[in-house]
């Protein structure tokens, strides 16, 4: 049995904790505390990490780590990214500037994204259809990255599994291309 690490990151409220809880086969480890910033419409916020486990059909195990979303906890981003096979960036399309939000994480994980596959999951597009997927793809392309952008609702297990599947396919494709080279 192989074990792999996947990292979930993204803005506060984008659903990192929810996504991991939706697929983890064990009760997830959560470090949510009460949010004291009244400008943010959220009762709780992650200040440490989220952790969950998911076993694939082939018996391999995924260790799912979630980062705190707020930039003042970015010291944890690099630590949590160590050993990760890939990164899933979750974005909340209802926020005032979600493409700028994406840029924050693309820049925050710039070193990692030079060598790791990444998938972007955009939530709340049903109620907030703009910006569209092209805007996110363009923001990634500004940094020389061609990243899949998926519309998801991370409360749905199937959507989270789709993000993970897409990331795993990228990982396999990267591995295949390296073996061919």
């Amino acid at each position: 049995m192989n074990e792999h690490k996947i990292l979930f990151t993204g803005t506060m409220g984008a659903g990192k904790t929810t996504a991991i809880a939706a697929v983890s086969e064990t009760p997830p480890v959560v470090t949510d505390v009460r949010n004291t910033d009244a400008s943010l419409g959220k009762a709780f916020t992650t200040v440490g990490l989220d952790f969950g486990l998911l076993t694939l059909d082939n018996g391999d195990r995924l260790r799912l780590f979630g980062t705190p979303g707020q930039v003042r906890f970015d010291f944890l981003w690099k630590i949590l990214a160590q050993g990760a096979l890939g990164v899933i960036i979750l974005i909340d399309n209802s926020r005032p500037a979600p493409v700028d939000d994406l840029r924050t994480y693309l820049d925050g994980f710039a070193d990692e994204l030079r060598r790791l596959p990444c998938v972007i999951g955009v939530g709340r597009r049903e109620t907030h259809p703009s910006p569209d997927s092209d805007a996110y793809a363009a923001a990634a392309a500004e940094r020389g990255l061609a990243l899949p952008v998926l519309e998801v609702d991370v409360r749905r297990r199937g959507d989270v599994l789709l993000l993970i599947d897409t990331l795993l396919m990228q990982i396999e494709a990267d591995l295949a291309s390296r073996l061919d080279a």
Binding site: V29, V30, T31, V33, R34, N35, T36, D37, T45, V47, G48, L49, P68, Q70, R72, F73, F75, L76
Partner: protein, 127 residues
């Protein structure tokens, strides 16, 4: 700028007192559980806001370790380093929980800092 609350005034007094009373203490930051500094006394250019965020993360991870181990509520975390240590203590209040982060270098005594930190915890919890 709004007047500091009674809790903020007490936190400020405790942070300053710890920094003055104990040799070797380099920084004392009292923060909200989600990492905002409430009061601090720092030297040597330390970033109180950064230390506040660190304290929040360390306290939360310590709490998870304690819970997962079935040891009840986490109360403090000690980080021992090559040339000093860092302590993070949790403060439980009815209105808002806090964390106290003390960074100390060589010359500081862990037991003494722990004792004084526990005293600050009691005062902040009782206020």
């Amino acid at each position: 700028m709004p007047e500091p609350t009674a809790l903020e005034q007490l936190a400020r007094a405790e942070a300053q007192a710890i920094a003055v009373e104990i040799e070797g203490v380099r920084a004392v930051v009292i923060a909200t559980v989600d990492g905002f500094d409430v009061a601090s006394s720092v030297s040597g250019g330390a970033d109180a806001q950064r230390i506040a965020a660190l304290a929040s993360s360390i306290a939360a991870i310590g709490q998870v370790v304690s819970t997962e181990a079935g040891l009840g509520r986490g109360t403090s975390v000690t980080v021992n380093t090559a040339s000093g240590f860092a302590l993070v203590h949790s403060v439980r209040r009815a209105d808002t929980d806090l964390v106290i982060h003390i960074i100390a270098g060589e010359g500081a005594l862990l037991a003494q800092v722990n004792y004084r930190a526990a005293e600050a915890v009691r005062r902040l919890e009782a206020a």
